[in-house]
């Protein structure tokens, strides 16, 4: 049963990722894209967590943890330069 | 005091990182986090005046409670909004002045506003807080809710 649920959950997250990808590509503003990028990182964290039930999978949680702490830095830096108009939208 | 708190929290976090709750792990964690705090002390302008722990914990609990409630209730509400066939939103920029004095508590307020569905902090500049409200539901005063649920306990925390 667990595996069925995992599969469905993963499918939902992947579906979410695909929708997010749509937003990333579509924009229209660079901020939308950044937002979508960040959301995709969250989706990856979600995927890793869904798979984290078994012992070996625990080994991947550190990755999720690191991503949770660091993925926003890229957004922050990009947002800075977008705000200052140094990167074309 | 702050240092002790940092060490304590850090030790616990460390235990979490390592998934083994023995004294040695905790001590290492405490040392490491103290060192980390020291190394990044430049970023710590001021510091958290958290002197009285029990009261602080109680206030934090209060905040956490409202936070959880908001999270569940407002999320459900927002879920409905997003999934409704005819999606109509009335966003609103709301400016208000916080009575919180310390930068740290102000920022915690800002974070809490963002984390609860329906509102996102746009700017905090001194006392001025600007938030973006996703859907201005008539009859619901976001600012009032924020004031009562988060600002008030934070102010009490400040006062400690």
């Amino acid at each position: 049963m667990i595996s069925w649920i995992d599969l469905v959950s993963q499918a939902m997250i992947v579906a979410a990722l695909i929708l997010t990808l749509f937003r990333l590509v579509k924009g229209p503003s660079s901020f939308d894209r950044l937002l979508a990028g960040e959301t995709m990182a969250l989706g990856l964290i979600g995927l890793i967590l869904v798979q984290a039930g078994i012992r070996e999978a625990r080994l991947y949680v550190d990755a999720a943890l690191s991503l949770a702490l660091f993925s926003f830095v890229g957004v922050v830096v990009f947002a800075r330069f977008l705000e200052q108009g140094e990167i074309d939208d | 005091m702050t240092g002790l708190l940092v060490a304590l929290v850090g030790g616990l976090v460390w235990v979490g990182f390592h998934g083994s709750a023995d004294l040695a792990t905790f001590l290492v964690g405490a040392v490491v986090s103290t060192a980390a705090a020291w190394a990044t002390r430049i970023a710590w302008r001021g510091g958290l005046p958290l002197a009285r722990l029990p009261r602080a914990v109680a206030l934090c609990g209060q905040i956490l409670f409202w936070f959880t409630v908001d999270l569940v209730v407002a999320n459900a509400w927002q879920l409905r909004l997003v999934l409704s066939p005819r999606l109509r939103v009335r966003p609103q920029w709301v400016h208000f002045t916080t009575r919180l004095e310390h930068p740290a508590t102000r920022e915690i307020l800002g974070v809490l506003i963002s984390l609860t569905p329906g509102t996102v902090t746009e700017e905090m500049r001194g006392e001025e807080v600007v938030i973006h409200v996703l859907d201005e539901t008539p009859g619901e005063d976001h600012v009032a809710a924020i004031r009562s649920r988060y600002e008030a306990p934070l102010a009490q925390l400040e006062a400690l």
Binding site: A16, T39, L42, A52, F72, G85 | G16, T121
Partner: protein, 136 residues
Amino acid sequence: MTSLPSWLEAVAAGATLLGAFFFLASAIGLVRLPDFYSRVHAPTKAATLGVALLVIASSIRSLPSGNLVWIEDLLIVAFLFLTVPVSSQVLLRAAATRKVPQVSSTTGEPANAHDGASAGSEDGRTDELAAPDRAG
């Protein structure tokens, strides 16, 4: 290592499904909401409730191992609580500064509506790097 009681299993399963569902919902929000400022709200939700639920599930599942790995899972949530508001705030402010269009139904004005000139390249200041490098 003992196995999990079935009710806990069920709770974990439910949390997993619900968490994933919140992800999906926030993604739908991301797609459907009309302007950038509204869309910022979406991932904030996924980060909060979605991840929190997944973490609850994963923590429950890790219980039989007997050690405290679930703290690590909780840390994920804690970290996201720290970082996601920051990034949404930064994005929001930057977008407002750059005057990203918003739905006409919006009321009020963002913080930077009047001081947009304080940032951005319109102020005519040239960047150090763009100027000829005369050093040496």
